[in-house]
């Protein structure tokens, strides 16, 4: 009866209850969706880092990570590989040769890390092969006698390898992508003109378009206006094993786009065989072995086993290699907590306010209920249930709406193209896929019920303090 009465009381003042429910719905939706967005962003960043950049575990000679000394190689790599393969959970490995050097073109140069890889082994550990920019080439597939290099889009821009021009084919493509004729006509002054780098092109675009137009369509036009000459070359210079400066021309096999500007600007991939020849290294020596494992949660456990089995080498987990990522995973739970507290506090104040109004409006009725024998426990329960119902209805609707939206956007992604440069500079993808675990909704439901109960305490105490004689006389 108390449940039924409380439920009916919720709908006594429909407009007010609906306003409260709507505000709870919006609050819960905003909270859950923001957390899903943040969660998706962070999980994606960690996934990108593990699958494209660092993998789960790296094995190097002692002090190699500290000094980057090319002489600190892993000898007997075959033995090391067989040890790794014997550890359960370590699924794949890739051997790498690593050296710091300079990348040069006729007009520009940049400091880079040159990573020698075996393309087939690398494919099993990293997804770099799937991140090539369309139309720029292939993943070391041609058996070229020339030295080959795979560089990032951002480095290609820095070295003036990517150039910009607007021609008739560019116009056709931007028209297909929805650019209006009015805006297309604004491109007329630069049609046929070639720009050596992105900066010059952006400067010219800014002079042709309004700020809003440039914000909205600038990225689209840049994406269609860039060009890359297949087979372009650059020179890589570095110190060999004997500390002699060596340099060689590398033909670009392709450009990659990893949505991480820093990584793209600094990482040049070449074939192990090409690099070792230039460095004068033994064919079986490597600087680094990267290990991919099947379950990321077992990273520390497997790293400990490897460290025991390979005492002369340094075994480093991704959390140590990239402490920012580790910190991020730890921060996520704290972020949830803070965000949750803010939303639940706002919800609690809304409920307290509403329930105080309810008690004030129903003074006479509450007095009557006490008079006819409804004890304090039942009066308290009735008020508490009303506030739990109010918050729970809003919360359930909020969670359903956010779940639907998370499922939809989790598949399609949310394109934050306008902030793409900022995101990519920090290593985040501009397309975010919100994600949340099913268990999270269970936790939210429990927290909402607790909040509803806590929020009802003060109004219920007010109700319990009513003197029935005075309350019955109240207008």
């Amino acid at each position: 009866m108390i449940w039924k009465t409380a439920w009916k009381n919720v709908w006594r003042n429909k407009v007010r209850s609906l306003v409260v429910i709507a505000s709870v719905t919006v609050g819960i939706f905003a909270g859950v969706f923001s957390i899903a967005l943040m969660n998706g962003l962070i999980e994606q960043r960690i996934s990108d880092a593990l699958n494209d950049e660092i993998s789960h575990i790296q094995i190097t000679s002692k002090n190699f990570r500290l000094n980057n000394d090319p002489q600190l190689t892993i000898a007997n790599s075959e033995g090391v590989l067989s040890v790794i393969k014997s550890v359960k959970g370590a699924t794949d490995v890739s051997e790498r040769t690593i050296i710091t050097g300079m990348a040069n073109t006729a007009s520009k140069s940049a400091g880079v890390q040159i990573i020698g890889i075996d393309p087939d082994m690398e494919k099993r550990v990293f997804t770099l092969y799937s991140k090539l920019m369309p139309g720029t080439g292939d993943y070391f597939e041609k058996d070229s006698k020339l030295n080959l290099a795979l560089i990032g889009q951002e480095l290609a821009k820095d070295l003036n390898i990517i150039r910009y021009s607007v021609d008739s084919s560019t116009i056709v493509r931007v028209r297909e992508k929805g650019l209006s004729e009015k805006l297309i006509s604004k491109l007329a002054p630069i049609t046929g003109k070639k720009f050596l780098n992105e900066k010059q092109f952006i400067k010219e675009m800014k002079s042709l378009f309004s700020k809003a137009e440039e914000m909205k369509y600038g990225l689209l036009i840049r994406k269609e206006a860039w060009s890359f000459r297949e087979g372009a070359r650059m020179t890589l210079t570095f110190l060999d094993k004997e500390n002699n400066q060596v340099g060689s021309v590398f033909r670009l096999t392709a450009l990659y786009d990893m949505a991480n500007s820093m990584f793209e600007k600094s990482s040049v991939f070449v074939r192990n065989s090409d690099l070792k020849k230039l460095m004068g290294m033994n064919e079986k020596d490597f600087h680094q072995v990267v290990v991919k494992i099947s379950n990321v949660d077992q990273t520390d456990e497997i790293a400990d086993i490897l460290a025991l089995k390979l005492p002369d080498l340094e075994v480093t987990t991704w959390k140590k290699i990239s402490p920012d990522l580790a910190m991020m995973t730890d921060m996520v739970s704290q972020f949830y907590l803070i965000f949750g507290i803010i939303i639940l506090a706002a919800l609690a104040f809304g409920i307290i306010n509403t329930m105080l109004m309810v008690v004030l409006e129903r003074t006479r009725e509450l007095g009557m209920l006490t008079a006819i024998g409804m004890n304090k426990k039942k009066v308290f329960s009735m008020i508490m249930l009303e506030s739990v119902f109010l918050s729970l209805i809003g919360a359930v609707i909020g969670m359903i709406v956010s779940n639907i939206l998370i499922r939809i956007t989790g598949n399609t992604g949310i394109n934050l193209a306008q902030a793409a440069e900022g995101f990519e500079a920090l290593g985040y993808s501009a397309i975010v896929y919100p994600k949340i675990s099913a268990g999270f909704f269970g936790i939210v439901t429990i927290l909402i019920i607790i909040t509803g109960i806590l929020s009802s305490i003060y109004p219920a105490m007010k109700a319990l303090k009513l003197n029935p004689v005075e309350a019955i006389r109240a207008e």
């Binding site: 006594r12 006479r364 009557m368 209920l369 008079a371 006819i372 024998g373 004890n375 004689v469 019955i472």
Partner: protein, 228 residues
Amino acid sequence: MKIIEIKNVSKIYNESEVQVNAVNGVTLDFQEAEFAAIVGPSGSGKTTLLNLIGGLDNPTSGEIIIDGTNLAKLKSSELIDFRMRNIGFVFQAYNLIPVLTAKENVEFIMNLQSWSKKERDERTFELLKAVGLFERANSRPAKMSGGQQQRIAVARALASRPKFVLADEPTANLDSKSASTLLEIMEKLNHEEKITFIFSTHDARVVKMAHRVITLEDGKVVSDDVRE
């Protein structure tokens, strides 16, 4: 059989440093199945006396003993439970729960007393028939007239078979016809259920039907007439 004993009860209110003797040394007894009216001018202490008998207010001095239980000896929670089991209330402004139907209002106290559904249904329909509102069982108070609401309030007061019913000006907000119907119903239930009814009233019709009329003036009993 004596069910209510009021022994030299006084109630003094201190309002703005002025003492008001709302009830002043009242001594009364009520027997089972009485149909009694407490009359007197406004401010004579009728409602205060009813509140004291009903355990809604505490006397400043004196004792109220109901069926052998001294109300002053009960803790607050025990007093609420005692009211639920022994006393029915009918208020001037009906005070039904607006979100519940007539049936749900009547069975509310039975629910508080954890009666079984079968027992509840039997008693509720019995009372709704008795007050002539069986067909309105599923109507909410807002859809009923004042007289009908007060009849539901009477049914609610009687639902758990209390020892007595206290009715504070039950006909004050009713038209003449509704008031007569209500009084006839109450008299019939008093007779059939052997439940004591005590009214405070100004209404001459109530006074006319009462078997006993107690007159209060300035908080004191000035007359106590029992009619045959």
